[in-house]
Symmetry: C2
Subunit: 394 residues, 2 copies
């Protein structure tokens, strides 16, 4: 596999000794000049120090470097936490010879413990020395916590004789692993864009991808998605065809990362798409899809490979949406389990049990109330999820 390269960006991932056994835990993204930047951050009231610092800096629309550590979230750490986040950025800025205002910071890991700043600062020279256009896997590894595989996605778009590339890395996921202080995703592109344009591309893309996944329904204090546009391709998103191409490349990279995140959910053995159609409106459909996707009983039934459709209907029924239960149809992939609110019998159940043995399948709920539709990606809920989260800090 040829290395993924995006002209104008260099990357690194090294060990600063935060994780055990010399695993990578400190990452860096550097643009060769200040890039246009956009960000999306957690809506949790409790926000980690690096989120507060980076949100402020990204508002100015320019960013040249992102430094990120795993293993410690630097959250609920008070004024010391803010000072540490600032110092981490400043140490990187000094090493790179750029202004600290151009450095974004992100952290992921346990909440409530002081950031091991000395270890991080000591590792920065080695981090800078490791910078390379091809080191995307090192970076992806450096941001992992309970992830079992690094997550990287990329798209290259040809427009006449030029092309641009969008690369993204991610770890954990949105509303999935709060204590890991969860979702981090960084994207960079050599397309050219104004910060406002970039933000108008990033927000709907996140809403259509990362905001449509769940592992356990808990929202992190550290969620951060950043998109940097360096411009080296000389393809500018001021031109509508380039903007459209960039939007679709960003959508695709985020969708691929989102899928990878759910597939690698803590303890997950199955990837399940919950599709709701025929709702009175899209908002109703989404509310039902979210409620089903987050139901522990639905998710434990998936783990048990039990076509327990009653749990799906019961979860839909408590979503706070008005619908007539006696008009509902339900499918596991293409096997119809419920027609007009009633089970389709033993034959259908036997077929559906085969579907549940697959590692990926869809559950489709048709309410027959209107045209509203939505889908959410979720995973099953296994014994290992509980084990991982009961033992996480020890």
């Amino acid at each position: 596999m040829a290395p993924i390269v995006c002209p104008g960006f260099r990357l690194a991932g090294v060990s600063a000794g935060l994780k055990k056994e010399g695993k990578k835990d400190l990452g860096l993204i550097v643009a060769d000049r200040p890039a246009a930047a956009a960000g999306v951050f957690t809506r949790n009231r409790v926000q980690a120090a690096p989120v507060r610092l980076t949100r402020e800096r990204i508002e100015a629309g320019r960013c040249q470097a992102v430094i990120v550590n795993s293993k410690n979230a630097n959250c609920c750490t008070g004024s010391q936490g803010m000072a540490d986040a600032g110092a981490m950025a400043e140490a990187a800025a000094r090493q790179l010879g750029i202004s600290p205002d151009l450095v974004a910071v992100a952290s992921t890991g346990v909440i409530g413990q002081p950031l091991p700043l000395v270890k991080i600062e000591s590792a920065i020279p080695a981090l800078a020395a490791a910078l390379s256009e091809e080191a995307v896997q090192d970076l992806a590894q450096a941001i992992m916590t309970t992830d079992t595989v690094p997550k990287v996605a990329h798209r290259t778009v040809q427009i006449e004789d030029k092309s641009f590339t969008v690369v993204g890395v991610a770890k954990g996921a949105g509303m999935i692993r709060p204590d890991m202080a969860t979702l981090l995703a960084f994207l960079w592109t050599d397309a050219e864009a104004q910060p406002g344009t970039l933000s108008s591309i990033l927000r709907p893309a996140v809403d259509a991808t990362f905001n449509r996944i769940t592992i356990d329904g808990d929202t992190s204090t550290n969620d951060t998605v950043l998109l940097l546009a360096g411009g080296r391709s000389n393809l500018s998103a001021d031109a509508p065809p380039v903007k459209a191409a960039l939007q679709s490349a960003v959508n695709e990279v985020l969708a691929e990362l989102a899928r990878a995140l759910v597939k690698d959910g803590e303890g997950a053995t199955k990837l399940v798409e919950i599709r709701v159609r025929g709702a009175a409106g899209d908002a109703d459909a989404r509310q039902i899809a979210d409620t089903v996707a987050n139901s522990n009983l639905v998710k434990t039934a998936f783990f048990g490979e039990d076509a327990n459709w009653g749990r799906v209907l019961a979860a839909a029924g408590r979503a706070g949406v008005v619908f007539d239960p006696e008009r509902v149809d339900l499918f596991f992939d293409d096997v119809q389990m419920v027609k007009d609110g009633r089970g389709c019998g033993k034959q259908a159940e036997a077929e559906a049990t085969k579907v549940l043995k697959r590692s990926e399948f869809a559950v489709t709920l048709d309410l027959h109330e209107g045209e509203g539709r939505a889908q959410v990606l979720t995973c099953d809920f296994s014994v290992d999820y509980v084990r991982i989260n009961a033992d996480y800090r020890s």
Copy 2:
């Protein structure tokens, strides 16, 4: 222990062969004359046939008998389900020689399978023959599904030279075990009350007790709480002191049953009270308490006996309530873990770890925003919860 007797009520629990190994699965409560009746039912959009039938009958304010089966919820069973619920009531009415309109029906168990009506009808003569003033334990056993112990509570109140008794039985719980089609609770008293009075007593009592507990956040399709007042004590709730005494006895019986339900939550090893104080209002406090009490990450940390307070703060932060995270204090029983949003250090953590080894403890969150307060009972989230729910139907 002397048997619990409430004059004017007889009870029974027998095996109709719905459960394996001859376990009791069919129960009956009979008053010696039509009793005043009040009910509270699930708010799930998907409602089982017996809920729909019983809700209608209870609206008339009179009830003389309640017949209930476990193992099958008679939910998502269409018009056949409604016919079966009606036939079950009618068979009981015929046996007892009373009007079917005076018979309430309840079912609990798997959703979506036809009610085994023939088995139930065949067992009704034996059920009636077993009726006795002292058979409350048999009844409590007959309504169990994954419950490991029967739940019975009672209070006797002396007023001058008279007294009345309130007895209650329950299984599963409110928003706890949807597939079991969960919470059933039946209370009866020999106090005398108009149906309207009874309802005004039952609703706030349920709101203060059963609506403040959770095991897994899923709401059942079969939740039913019934309160019958037979009047044999000659103490009438038309008199304010009797009404007050009845209210408090009903509150206490429901509170004791609610506590027993959470303690016996699927796979639960710990009973935890989440207390929120200092919120801007009671509604804010309740929203935060609910969110923390339902967080899988908080509950798996309890199971792991890990004083992972960051998860409690992260859950509070996503509750949709405005508060200043830097003013929050957090306690595990009387051990302060967080002051002004920051951890209290290793000593506090070591003390808190001892608290988490207890089988019952409280988590108190003080927001320092106002006078609002609320509490919710929850349990930990164990590997066994997943096992039980992955394998439930098989």
